[in-house]
């Protein structure tokens, strides 16, 4: 052994490196712990650890919280923008119904309560042929006082020039000091104004009739045979027969209003929607918690059968990772794997400890969705149905022990296996309109197995949450 060759030196060195175990007693955990405490301080054990929560729990919570906040904020903003006039108008409801005698002796019954209890789109004034009750209406003194005190109620006096002359328009912003002046019709709040002037034909006709009535009692001709009169909101300063002038402030409000002038609305049929969906997938095939998250990505298609009920489908790709204990599956030879690549060193089924599976699946869901709430531009829905799984590839790693040795081996199966309607789908969530037919949808989901699947006959339970961007094209337009 006087001359060792290079190869011998290398071989001896490798063997020594593999086999020699130096004394490690000098290594101490406490020294490393001190270092770890400096570089990676441990968080207090009793404190709340957000990072330790299941991502599906906090992920779903964040999305639902964001949706609820979005809905609440929008609702509040909507209320703030839409209620001021109503709030000022409502007190005026205390004004007693006015009955105004027209030229032919008919009385126009002004039900101001009804006017403000209804939406601002249509304000109805009931006219009926009733006997005039002297003193019950058009008392310049008492009625005018009442109206002035109300501050905003629009009222209408008509037909009897003498009595009409006792009224003056009052407005929320106008001082109640304004005296009743002859020839002044009444006006509603601004919200009514914008609607009424927006041009409904019927309203327009009625407006004309009312206008005429302000001066010369022509109203009889237009209202006599009608049970309802749509009150135009701007019936103002009629200074003479057949003449209508506007209230400046109200007209300004009208001009500034974003409300469409033309009330002939176009109805867009967006019953069909397509979407792009994605999200995490968490699959459990037994009692062992999976620590790897799968993906969920695909296209969706929905069609509204009614206003609230829609049918939905899609084509979604998902990969699932799961663990299972031995008792959850049957050890069987995969059908598609040739014996050459399928290791069967065991005469009898070996004691398998657990299994780690991964599957690539195309999913075809078919669900019915019901929108149980719709506020502003946010819909809340529940969805249920069945899904079909088309397993494209399965990979399993078997962990087993034999003679106290732990072994593992891997099997892959590329043969497609179809499971029609093998999964029950349940989900709920919200859909927020983004405008122009686009919307965003978030929904936690749960997929329950109706049958065993895969070459290991596992029940795959999946849950997670989906985020979907949708687009609803205009299928048709119709005028209403």
């Amino acid at each position: 052994m006087s001359n060792l060759s290079d190869k011998e030196i290398d071989r001896l060195s490798r063997e020594a490196a593999d086999s020699y175990e130096p004394d490690d007693s000098s290594l101490s955990w406490s020294r490393l712990q001190q270092k770890l405490d400096q570089t990676m301080p441990e968080r207090p054990p009793d404190s709340f650890r957000f990072g330790r929560m299941n991502p599906y729990v906090w992920g779903s919570a964040v999305i639902l919280l964001a949706g609820a906040s979005f809905f609440t904020i929008k609702n509040i903003r909507y209320s703030q923008h839409s209620t001021p006039n109503i709030q000022t108008v409502i007190p005026s409801v205390s004004v007693p119904d006015a009955k105004i005698k027209n030229a032919s002796g008919n009385t126009v019954h002004l039900d101001s309560t009804a006017v403000f209890q209804k939406s601002a789109v249509e304000e109805n004034i009931h006219s009926s042929e009733t006997d005039q009750k002297p003193g019950s209406s058009a008392k310049p003194g008492s009625d005018a006082d009442a109206m002035q005190s109300s501050g905003s109620v629009s009222d209408l006096s008509n037909a009897n020039p003498n009595k009409l002359s006792g009224y003056k328009q009052t407005n929320t912003r106008q001082s109640t000091k304004n005296a009743l002046k002859p020839g002044v019709a009444v006006v509603a709040g601004s919200s009514l104004t914008s609607r009424a002037v927006s041009g409904e034909d019927q309203n327009a006709r009625e407006t004309n009739g009312m206008d005429a009535g302000t001066g010369a009692g022509d109203m009889a001709g237009s209202t006599k045979n009608k049970n309802q009169i749509h009150l135009p909101a701007v019936l103002t300063h009629g200074t003479g027969p057949g003449k209508v002038t506007g209230n400046d402030s109200l007209m300004n409000q009208l001009a500034q209003s974003k409300t469409p002038i033309h009330q002939k609305s176009v109805h867009l049929n967006r019953s069909l929607n397509i979407g792009f969906t994605f999200g995490p997938d968490y699959t459990n095939a037994g009692d062992i918690a999976n620590n790897q998250i799968g993906n969920y990505i695909g296209l969706t298609l929905g069609y509204y059968l009614t206003d609230k009920l829609s049918v939905n489908t899609g084509f979604i790709y998902t990969n699932k990772f799961y663990w299972s204990k031995a008792h959850n599956y049957f050890f069987q030879q995969p059908r598609s794997i040739s014996p050459a690549i399928y290791p069967r060193p065991f005469a009898a089924p070996p004691p398998i400890d657990y299994i780690n599976g991964a599957s690539n699946i195309w999913e075809l869901p078919l669900t019915l969705r019901y929108d149980f709430a719709h506020h502003n531009k946010t819909k809340f829905f529940a969805d249920a149905g069945l899904s079909s799984y088309f397993m494209m590839k399965q990979t399993y790693i078997y962990f087993l022990h034999s003679n106290q040795n732990q072994l593992a081996y891997k099997i892959s199966d590329n043969q497609q296996i179809n499971y029609w309607f093998g999964i029950a789908d349940i989900s709920a969530g919200f859909e927020a309109e983004l405008g122009k037919g686009f919307s965003f949808q978030a929904e936690p989901f749960l997929k329950l197995p109706l049958r065993n699947m895969g070459m290991e006959d596992l029940k795959l339970t999946s849950y997670g949450f989906l985020m979907t961007f949708k687009y609803a094209p205009v299928l048709s337009r119709s005028k209403k």
Binding site: M1, S2, P22, L27, L36
Partner: protein, 196 residues
């Protein structure tokens, strides 16, 4: 004692959460392995402990990058991953201290220590071979470890250590020569017995 892949997976999950008890258990499981690797790269015992400690710190910091689901045998995969960390830590340590660690010749002290290595045993043990490697100068020792034991190429060694391929080959040649000198001196008085 590790009970298998599932237990290691649980420990890894705990380490990802910076759980000290999981870290301690994994440390106890791997410290012998870490010592075995780092011991070859350093002659000074204190520096070996420093490198092991640094390697474990890196290991715990980056354990989220280890994907145990991609491996059949998690323990083997984990050890392989940890070994890369340790070797890189040794290389880093060498590079940091290379300005004063370069030596080209077997020092007098080395030869003395080699001679002191006689233990009365009539064979070369693994311990003596490893100790002989440790007696090499840092530059030779590092190249020898990386080439012979870790299986790196001269190009990779040159890249890692910041030296040329020629320098790497030269250092390896000299390392072998010095190692042969050390082992031959031993074998002159003791007959080498191939380990079983």
């Amino acid at each position: 004692m590790m009970n298998g892949n599932h237990h290691i997976s649980a420990l890894i999950a705990g380490c990802r959460q910076n759980d000290r008890s999981s870290q301690k258990e994994l440390y106890e499981f791997l410290k012998g392995y870490a010592m075995k690797i780092c011991y070859r790269y350093q002659h000074n015992q204190y520096q070996v402990e420093e490198i092991v400690s640094e390697g474990f710190t890196k290991f715990f910091k980056n354990i989220h990058q280890f994907d145990e689901n991609r491996h059949l045998e998690i323990t083997m995969a984990l050890k392989g991953w940890f070994k890369r960390i340790l070797v890189n830590t040794c290389i880093d340590y060498y590079r940091k201290n290379s300005s004063y660690l370069h030596g080209q010749k077997l020092s007098e002290e080395t030869e003395k220590i080699a001679d002191h290595g006689e233990t009365g045993l009539d064979k070369l043990s693994y311990k003596e071979i490893i100790e002989a490697i440790r007696l090499l100068s840092p530059a030779y020792r590092t190249v020898f470890n990386l080439f012979v034991i870790e299986g790196m190429s001269h190009e990779e060694i040159g890249k890692h250590l910041g030296i040329s391929v020629g320098a790497s080959k030269s250092n390896l040649s000299k390392a072998r020569e010095n190692l042969r000198k050390i082992l031959t001196k031993k074998s002159d008085v003791k007959r080498y017995v191939e380990p079983i």
